[in-house]
Amino acid sequence: MAPETDDELLIRSHSGDEQAFVSLYRRRQGGIFRFALHMSGSEAAAEDITQEVFLALLREQEGYDPRRGTVSAYLFGIARKLVLRHLDRSRLDVALEIDDENAPEAVAGMDPLIDLTRREGLEALRRAVLALPRRYREVVVLCDLEEMDYAAAAISLACPVGTVRSRLHRARALLFEKLQQDRNSRPVAAALNPARCLI
């Protein structure tokens, strides 16, 4: 027997079937939680946002329209709004200076991507993702971190596939620049570190 679709589970859930609600939650909560976590960088915020998304599903029973997209896209849409509200409140959303889609890419001097095989390199990349402007961060989280295809990401973000693609290229270019800046500043920072504390 084929598993129930999200739409079927949602209808049953709205008619008071707790098991259907739990099934839908278990099926979709992981993606929502990780999206919120990657976007906010905070586990507590991701937890709150995940809970709020499904509470909204309970409260606003008329909110979902199957003609406008899938249940998953609807949930991501709610999550996105909540993440943006969280970022506005917490002011953690410090974007990169370069926010112009048409700005030229930096020319690589030393290759910062070699570091990506190491733990520090990945940590730098994680910081760089968190520092991306929101619209770029969203596509990176969905398409690269979550490996969602462009079409599904476009539905989730309510924008055309072409926009997802162009933002993704720009986001990756910005990440490269950020990693390069980090790498270039690292020797200076290392030189300032005392080898031993004398006090």
Binding site: Y25, R34, L58, A108, L145, F176
Partner: protein, 197 residues
């Protein structure tokens, strides 16, 4: 293919990369950033919200359902009352109209007028019936006994009722209520009706 055209489409290693060194470098760089991102996302892929979120949501679901259940009986009562009222009105109208539509009712009007000679109802003059008085006899008026006491009841009926008695009623006003005096015999059956406005 120009560089712009290449980047506006899905850049998946087409011939343009062989022709344009700059795009080839840029593409290779993006590919490696993407690989790094996938590497970064891999350990997170199994991450889920803590179990307490589900527990809390299930509690909210139950509370939400309880509230909905508690609202239901009230809603049902309202619906039951509305249906009962609608049914009562429909039955009353059906009775009234069925009496009007009995065959030969119009030729009995004059006979009925003569028979109405009992005690008049308060506020009702027997003459009202004899000389018309605005009353329109209903088909069962022939059953009035010579000295039968009669009652006059004033009530509101839908204006559409007047159509069956030969009045012209505009469709947009058919739902309006109109006051009427109904003449009841001792058996409680309506004998005649008079519309007041």
């Amino acid at each position: 293919m120009t560089c712009a055209e290449f980047w506006n489409r899905a850049p998946d290693g087409s011939d343009h990369l062989a022709e344009c060194a700059e795009c080839a470098i840029r593409f290779e760089r993006q590919d490696r950033v993407s690989a790094g991102l996938r590497l970064l996302g891999a350990p997170m892929r199994g991450r889920e919200a803590p179990a307490r979120v589900e527990e809390s949501l299930v509690a909210c679901f139950r509370s939400h359902e309880r509230r909905r259940e508690s609202r239901r009986p009230k809603e049902l009562w309202w619906a039951a009352w509305a249906w009962a009222a609608a049914l009562a009105v429909t039955v009353a109208l059906a009775v009234l109209l069925s009496q009007i539509h009995q065959p030969g009712w119009s030729e009995r009007l004059t006979r009925q007028s003569a028979q109405v000679a009992g005690e008049p109802a308060p506020g009702f003059e027997t003459g009202d019936m004899d000389n018309g008085g605005g009353f329109i006899p209903l088909p069962n008026a022939e059953r009035i006994a010579p000295n039968e006491p009669m009652n006059l009841v004033r009530l509101e009926v839908p204006r559409s009722t007047m159509i069956a008695l030969g009045f012209e009623v505009r469709a947009d006003r058919a739902e309006e209520a109109v006051e009427a005096d109904v003449l009841l015999g001792a058996d409680g059956v309506a004998r005649a009706v008079r519309f007041l406005n």
